[in-house]
Amino acid sequence: MIGSPLRLLLRNARLVDPATGLDQPGSLLVEDGRIAALGPAIDATGGAAGEGVRTIDCAGHVLAPGLVDIRVQAREPGDEHLETVASASAAAAAGGITTFCCLPNTEPPIDDVALVDFVSRRGSTIGLVRVHPYAALTKGLKGEALAEIGLMAEAGAVAFTDGVRPVADPRMMRRALAYARNFDALVVQRPEDPSLARGGAMNEGELAARLGLPGIPVEAEVIMLERDIRLAALTGARYHASLVSCAKSVEVVRRAKDAGLAVTCDTTPAYFGLNEVAVSNYRTYAKLSPPLRTEADRLAVLAAVKDGTIDCVVSDHAPFDHDSKRLPFAQASFGGVGLETLLALLLEQVHNGALTLMQALAPVTERPARLMRLPVGRLAQGAPADLVEIDLGRAWKIDNKRFVSKGRNTPFDNKPVQGKVVRALVGGRVVFQG
C-alpha cells in the first residue's frame, strides 16, 4: 500500500528491536518499502551505497520499529470536528506511531462490512500511516445482538470490540466470544460493569469523598474482567482486556495467563504515569475512563508493564473539544488524547529507571503487532520498513497548543519530558520529520 521504489540507507543509527533483543550501532537498508538488510556491516562493506541510494544520517539516534497503537478513536465517520482519519494519521506520524487500530465508536458505528471498508480505504488514501479498523462485536454497539463478525473479519476488521462500551450482558458476551472463536477472531473489551460504574466521575475512595464526587470502584473493572476471563475459558476464545488500571486487575490477568488462557491486556501511560491526585482541583482533563486510581495501583500497573503481564501500551487517543471538558467535573467527558505523547511518556519511565528501553518499546511494537497478527513491529529482513528514529536525550515540554491532532485534551499538558521523535517512516517513506 505505502511504498517507495527508492533504496534508502539509514546509517549511523542505534538499532533497537524488542522482537529480537537487538541493540547495537549500525545501518538499515530499505528497498521497495521493505527492510532489505540491517546491521553494523552494511556501512562498512559499502555494498549498499552507490547510485540511486538516498542516505539519511541518524546521528547515533535510536532506530526502532514504528509504534503500533491498538486503541485510537479517529472519530470518523460522524464526529469529524473532533478528529478525522487524516488528522489522526498526521498526529500518529508525529508521535512515531506508524500503525494504529481505530475503535468502532463512530456515528454510525463500524458494524457493517461497508464501514470497515470505508475506514480502511480512508487510511490508505491518506497514505501516512497504516490504519486498521476494529469492528463492532454487537450490532450498533448495543450489546444485544451479534454483529457480522465473519464477514467483517474477511473485509479486514483487525479485531472485534464495542470500544468504549463494554458488553454488559454475560449471555451476550458468552455468545460473542463463542462466535468469534469460529473465526479465531480477537475480542477486545474494556471491562467496566456499567451498573457498578453508573454515575461515577472518578476513582471511589477518600479523595472522591473529599471532593464530593461520585466514585467508580475498582470492582467495576475487576468483576467484569473476571467474568470475561471465565467466559473466555468456557468458550476458548482469544480475549484482550483494554485499559487495565489497577492492581487487582493486574492480579486477575496474571492468574489467567498462568492458567494458560489466551488472555492479554493493555494499559495507557496515564495509569502508570499519574494517579487520582491528578484530578484534584477538578481537573477535567485528567478525567479518564477508567478513572485514575491510587498510587499503589499506579505502581502495580507500572510493574506489570515491566514484567510483561500487561502486553501492550496504547495511546487510548480520545479527542474531545473544549466544550466537552470545560464543564463541572461530573458533567465533563471521559478521555484524553495520546497519539503524540505515547512514546515520550514511555521514555519517561526509561529515564526514571523504571523500565529498560526494551521493556518500554516491546509493548508498543512487536507485542501489539503480534496480537493483531500484523506483519509490522520488528526490524527484520523483508518486514515493512515502518521505522521511528528517536532522539532519546532531547528534552521538550508537552504543549497541547502544538498538537497536530485536533484534540487538545491531554492530562499531561506542560509536562517536561525527554525523548523525541526525529523521523517516522512508513513503508520506507518519511511521513514525519521533526
Binding site: K139, E144, A145, L146, A147, R175, A178, Y179, N182
Partner: protein, 328 residues
Amino acid sequence: MPAEPIFRLPTRHLLGIEGLAPPHVDAILDLSETYVETSRRAEKKASGLRGRTVINLFFENSTRTRTSFELAGKRLGGDVINMSVEASSVKKGETLIDTALTLTAMNPDVLIVRHPDSGAVKLLSEKVRASVINAGDGQHEHPTQALLDALTIRRRKGRLSGLVVAICGDILHSRVARSNILLLQVMGAVVRVVAPTTLLPAGIERWGVEVFHDMRRGLDGADIVMMLRLQRERMDGGYVPSPREFFHFYGLDRDKLARAKPDALIMHPGPMNRGVEIDSIVADDLDRSVIQEQVEMGVAVRMAVLDLLTRNLQGNEPPGGVPAGSGR
C-alpha cells in the same frame, strides 16, 4: 402384502433411536423397502393396521410429518385421526397427563406424538396403553426422520457403514441431528458436525463425532451432506448475526459442495430456507439432491414402524408371546 414379520421391535414404543441395535434398524429398513413398493403401486393399500385406531397427537405445528404419518396409517388400512392439541384442551389448561388419560379411555392403538418439550413424549407414553411413536420431542429426538434418512442413504449407497456423513447447521436446536447422529453411529458411519460454535451444544465433542467450524473442511471427502433448517428467529444476532453471514459461511453452495465427494448426496429434512442454509441450484440438482426422495421414504418408513409396533400389540401376538425386552 408386506413380508411376514422378520423381526420384532424390542419395545412397545418408538421414543427414540437410542436403544435400537443394528438388527432393529435393518429390520425397519428392510420392511420399509417393501412399503416403498406398495406406495408406488396404483393400489397402495396394505392391511397391517386394519381395525386399528391411530391418533396423530401434535402439540406443535407440523404439516409434513403429520401428513406423512397420516398417509402411512391409511395405507396400512388403519383409522387415523388428527388431533392438533395446540388448538384444543391444552389451551383450556389440561395437563399432558390429563390429555393422555382422556385419550386412553378412547382405546387408540397407536399415538403419534409431537411435543415442543424434550421428554414429554416419554412422559405421555408412561401413562397410556397404546404404542407411542415420537414424532419429535423438543430438541431431543425425531426417530422416524433418522430412519427415513438412513433408508434414503442405504438405497442410494447400498450401505451405511463406513460412509462419511456431514451434518451441517443448527445442531444445537435440532432433534433431527441428535437422532441422526445416534443412528448413523450405531450403523457404523463416520459422523461429522459442521456449525458455528454458537449452534453446537456444549460437550458435543464427547459424542464421538468430528466437530468442524469451517464448512469447507467439514465437507472434505464427505459421502453425504445433511443440511438442517435454521429458524429465522435464530439469525437475528442471538446465535448468528444475519442470514447473509450464515449463508456465506455455512450455506451449502456449489463452491463448498465441491469439497465433498463427486457423488455426495445432499439431504435436508425440510422445509428449506433457500438462500440461507442451502442454495437453490444445489437443492434442485437432480443428480445430487435426494430431498424429494426423503419425503417419499418418510411414508414408507412410517408404515414399517406402525406395522412393526402394532405386531407387538395385543391381538397380534405371535405364538410364544412378546419377545423379552418388551416395553410392557
